[in-house]
């Protein structure tokens, strides 16, 4: 006898295990989408890094400019102002005779102003703004107090000097004063020229030679060469890198540097082979290796057959072309502290996959099929430099690099990073 059951119950029973399989959708399509998203993510990381570097450069430029952009009255303007003042003096009544003294004050003020403005140029001040512009006319007017005027009027009346004489005397004084002002300005012009020459001297090229022990590793735990199922252990490996850099100052606090560098990495993973296995290296299949596997040397083969730990090393060498900005963060006595940020073009030079055991030498089994010939990395670091003399400087620059690209679509990007404490000497021409 058939019993009535709810429609929902009947349909659920039938659909519990349908056995349907997707036809068009394959793992390759999902994997391709994941890789595409990963690339897009790395592009954004790279873009964000680039924006940060540009912002840092702009910030440094702004900081420098705000410290040094003090409006200094041009020599021509000062001269015109003095001449104008003298002309006004000539047209004025005897009361203005007192202004002769004011002219003396004006000359002194001009001299002080020029000296002050040159000291600004030589040594940037931090808390200076446009409000601090020196208003010559205001200063001149303020220097002439009513008390001084009254005193001088009385003095003239007592001497019985006529008005005409006063005017004549004033003209002679004015001419003398003009000459004096011109002499002062001429002296200042010579000094200013020598200052600008000093500035040109700062814009000299510098060449640096650095070396560093490089520590490199992956942020990712996975390894494209060994399967996930193998028990393995990442080993710490040091290698050496060298570089030659050229730098040119852009602003007082900012330098642009570029050069050439040799970067050596060693990524190592150790695993334990199965002595009973007949395939691979003691049951371990090493994937993504292009060159055919050569017969193993006897000592290495014996170690694998005995199940001794084997180390798989990937030696990579890049020719690196760094481009970076160096911003002076601060100075204490003669020692500078710099912030360094930039990007690097990497050109693959060496790619060796090696096997090694306790009793054997390194044996090359091939090269990785997932490394691109060119790649990009970004870096950030600090620089400490101390001059020995006019030309030589000691430089120590701890720097962290992150490689954005350089891995093919067939493997997961392992997020490689490397750290070095670049140390060396620089020579300023």
């Amino acid at each position: 006898m058939e019993t009535k059951r709810t429609l929902g119950q009947q349909v659920k029973e039938r659909l519990d295990d349908t056995g349907f399989e997707p036809k068009k959708l394959s793992w390759e399509r999902i994997n391709a989408t994941l890789q595409k998203r990963k690339r897009r993510r790395f592009f954004w990381y790279f873009f964000t890094g680039a924006v940060i570097v540009v912002l840092l450069l702009l910030l440094s430029n702004w900081l420098y400019t705000s410290n040094t952009l003090i409006e200094v009255p041009a020599e021509k303007d000062i001269h015109e102002e003095v001449s104008k003042k003298n002309l006004d003096l000539k047209k004025m009544t005897p009361v203005i005779e007192i202004e002769n003294d004011t002219k003396d004050n004006a000359a002194e003020l001009i001299q002080n102003t020029v000296e002050k403005s040159q000291s600004f140029v030589k040594k940037p001040l931090k808390n200076t703004s446009y409000d601090n512009k020196i208003d010559l006319s205001k200063s001149i007017a303020q220097s002439d107090t009513p008390a001084t005027q009254t005193q001088k009027k009385e003095h003239l009346a007592m001497d019985g000097v006529s008005m005409q004489d006063s005017i004549d005397k004033k003209d002679t004084d004015t001419t003398r004063q003009e000459k004096k002002s011109k002499r002062v300005l001429k002296k200042k012009a010579v000094k200013s020229k020598s200052d600008s020459l000093e500035k040109v001297e700062v814009k000299k090229w510098t060449i640096s030679i650095h070396a560093t022990p490089t520590y490199s590793n992956y942020l990712s735990e996975s390894n494209a060469l060994l399967p996930e199922s193998i028990n393995r252990k990442k080993n710490f490996k040091l290698s050496w890198s060298y570089r030659l850099l050229f730098s040119i100052p852009i602003k007082e606090r900012l330098k642009f540097r570029f050069g050439i560098s040799q970067l050596d990495f060693k990524y190592a993973v150790s695993f334990e082979p199965d002595p009973d296995a007949n395939n691979g290296y003691g049951g371990v299949m090493i994937s993504n290796v292009t060159a055919p596997i050569n017969p193993l040397p006897n000592d290495l083969a014996n170690d694998i057959n005995m199940g001794n730990t084997v180390e798989l090393e990937h030696h990579i060498r890049y020719l690196q072309i760094p481009m970076e900005g160096v911003f002076v963060l601060g100075q204490r006595k003669k020692t500078n502290l710099d912030l360094i940020a930039g990007i690097d073009l990497l050109i693959l030079q060496k790619d060796d996959i090696m096997l090694k055991s306790a009793n054997s030498r390194e044996f090359r089994i091939g090269r990785a099929n997932y490394l691109n010939t060119t790649a990009f990395s970004g870096h950030i670091g600090l620089g400490i430099s101390h001059p020995f003399n006019e030309h030589f400087k000691l430089e120590v620059e701890p720097t962290l690099f992150y490689q954005f690209s350089g891995y093919g679509d067939n493997v997961q990007h392992p997020s490689p990073y490397y750290f070095g404490i670049y140390s060396g000497l620089s020579f300023k021409f």
Binding site: E2, L7, S220, E221, Q412
Partner: protein
């Protein structure tokens, strides 16, 4: 490789672990996708999107509840999101007098091939199919359905009842058509 290792491999973005996970759960998740989509092709696209989300969110899986259940919920919630984005998705809002009546059937549905039954569910209007799947096949209560879909409980009940009536009618139509065909071929 056990499930925990597979999950940790996927968290580490290991391609091999991801591929294994895909082939392990592909068919089960595809059944879920088929129920919620109106065609085979749409279900394949939905499965693709579901796996992408699973691989991106797998690190948020804390081990509470079954992993399969967690993945199925992702597929279901993605389907609900798609329904919400559709402009033609309008739910019936008027109440029916026999709202709480259950729709019963003889065991006719057992004689229908599985692909035909799936096809009949897929041919239901979007709003009916969604509520029918959520309530009858995946066990969501009306209260939860009302919260996640953004409708009232009574609307959810109304849509469920209508979906079952419509499905029953179509099943019976299919059976009668088949019976007619058999009779014709016998004559």
């Amino acid at each position: 490789m056990d499930l925990d290792k597979l999950i940790s491999g996927c968290i580490k973005k290991n391609p091999e672990a991801r591929e294994r996970l895909y082939y392990l759960y592909r068919d089960k998740l595809f059944s879920v996708c088929l129920k919620y989509c109106c065609s085979f092709e749409e279900a394949e696209d939905h499965l693709h999107d579901t796996f992408i989300t699973i691989f991106e969110k797998i690190k948020t899986y804390k081990g509470k509840g079954s992993f399969e259940g967690w993945m199925k919920r992702i597929a279901i919630y993605k389907a609900i999101d798609k329904y919400k984005k559709r402009t033609d998705f309008e739910l019936a809002t008027h109440k029916l007098s026999s709202l709480h009546d259950e729709v019963y059937m003889e065991n006719e549905s057992q004689s229908i091939p599985i692909e035909v039954l799936m096809g009949l569910i897929q041919k239901l209007p979007n709003q009916y199919r969604l509520i029918f799947n959520l309530y009858e096949l995946d066990g969501f209560p009306h209260k939860e359905i009302s919260q996640i879909v953004g409708i009232s409980e009574s609307t959810s009940k109304s849509n469920l009842f209508r979906s079952k009536l419509l499905l029953k009618q179509r099943i019976l139509e299919y059976i009668s058509l088949q019976t007619l065909k058999k009779t014709d071929s016998g004559n």
